[in-house]
Amino acid sequence: MSIKKSFRNFFTAQTNSRLKDLLLVLPTYLWIIIVFFIPVFSVLILSFAELSPVTRTVVNFPVLSNYAKLFIRTDYARLLLRTFFIAVTVTASSVLFAYVVAYFIAFRVLKNKYTVLFLFQAPYFATYMLILLAWRLMLGSTGVINSLLLYFGLISEPIKLLGYNLFSVWLVLTATWFPWLILPIFVSLEKIDRVLLEASDDLGASPITTFLKVTFPLSLPGVFVAVLFVFIPTMGEFIAPAVVGGRTGILFGNLIYDFFLKGFRWDVAAAFTVYLLIITFIAVFLLYRRIGFRKLMESL
């Protein structure tokens, strides 16, 4: 009886319930802390250590030599700049494509909107790696596109741009990313009250003015979410460059991966990872300030 009574007291006490409810999220808390925070923190510490390339024991701590590597080797710095450039262009092109599709589905498709939306989302299921493999067959000097163009006599020799290079990395990343970005933009376009657009027309605005002054500003939350969705992974991308980048198309992520895997230079890899982390952090912070947490949640 006394156990029952104390259980009941535990159940009803207001302060206790806040702690008891904490139990529900405790597993998630622990998981994120153990699997995410502690490892990332250990990388942060590692980035200030100098490891012996042979034994992988700490020789020197703390040092900034790992961070300095980026500035000593100009090709590393150039790689980071190139990655930033690719991330920006891929973000711009894929958001633009996604916007066109989302706009079309939201405003021009009258029936079966969600089926059309689903059609564009279907490739997710095929897995990213498989699509990359497909693009590997499409591109290249003996690839499908060049072969077809040659066959139909449209060109006399293979187009270099469609080989394995930086342009291909941009093309493939854009093609694989834009379908992912349709949904957040579509959601924010669907939320716009159609009366607002009619009002704008009624007030004498041209379709283009209506778009620039009403539709586009109101869809910005979705656009920001889309930007965040594509920019961050692209900064860290290393799979697509390895598959279709050839020798000229590799990115900063490939450098980190190589340091981790082949060179066993974990200390340098750690410092470069921290650089990437800082860029990510800045990007998230800037967009977070523009859209806020609630909008981000709503667009998911």
Binding site: R8, N9, F11, T12, Q14
Partner: protein, 351 residues
Amino acid sequence: MKIDVELKNVTKKFGDVVAVSDVSFQVEKGQFFSLLGPSGCGKTTILRMISGFEKPTEGEILIEGEPMADVPPFKRPTNLVFQSLALFPHLNVYENIAFGLKIKKIPENEIKARVKEMLDLVRLPGYEKRKISQLSGGEKQRIAIVRALVNKPTVLLLDEPLGPLDLKLREEMIVELKRIKREVGTTFIYVTHDQGEALTMSDKIAVMKAGKIMQIGSPIEIYEQPNSEFVANFIGGTNVFKGRYENGAVEVDNLGKITVTPECQLSKGSVLVSIKPEKIFIGRKLNALDNIFAGEVKEAYYQGRVVTYRVLLENGSSISVVAPSPGMEGIFGIGEKVKIGWNKKDSKLIT
């Protein structure tokens, strides 16, 4: 008389906001008790405290004499009919009504019998297999009510269950609720913002404003003898005048002297007088009334059985009058010169 529910000095605060402030009342067994007030006055909070979903910040709630402070909602002898009805969409009518009984582990054949009895009570026999989405608004109301009633609660709590219905259905449901109440005899506590519903159904009404109870009484008391300007106004569009009482009459600015029943022994001072629009006579000539004033019809609304007039009196006040339609002198047009008057027993003093 046995007391089923008693609130003793109950206060509820949400942070700094006082939702219910020092409320006390008793509900007798078998009574139909209404909490009436505008939205946000705290009436729903009181209901949620009785059912156990909120805890009083101060004070005590007793059900059948037992303090309820440590009793969670699922152990209280109360059942609630929710404003949104909250019928489980994934269960059919039978499963909805049987929900509470199944939890109490009552044998299946008894559950079947009781569900059938309940469906008969609300005149929906054979509805067991229906899905909730197939029911009409009125049918949903009835199922929600019997889903609560089937558990034989000491008190049935109803949170504006007629809110979303249209007028005609609402009137039907009022009749239906009264009949159900009569047949089962359970104590009802009913929350509403509609004075018509409260007046029609209740044995006792508590009128609330901003977390406080303004007046408790029978419908007749509340209607005929409101104790404040708020209650008078809320219960029914009435004419309220401010004036000074002296020797059985009230001197009202811009109107003149109004005679009142001298039964309220007041000292001199400022008072409010309420005159119900339907107690006022209107005509081209009036006599044999205690208070008669001349004026001009400013507005006239034809409402079928009655006509509501707004009359501007000669000394500047305006007054509303509800007269039968058509009266002996027909319906008055706007701009017509008329006289209005009432007896002094209908001049109610509000202190």
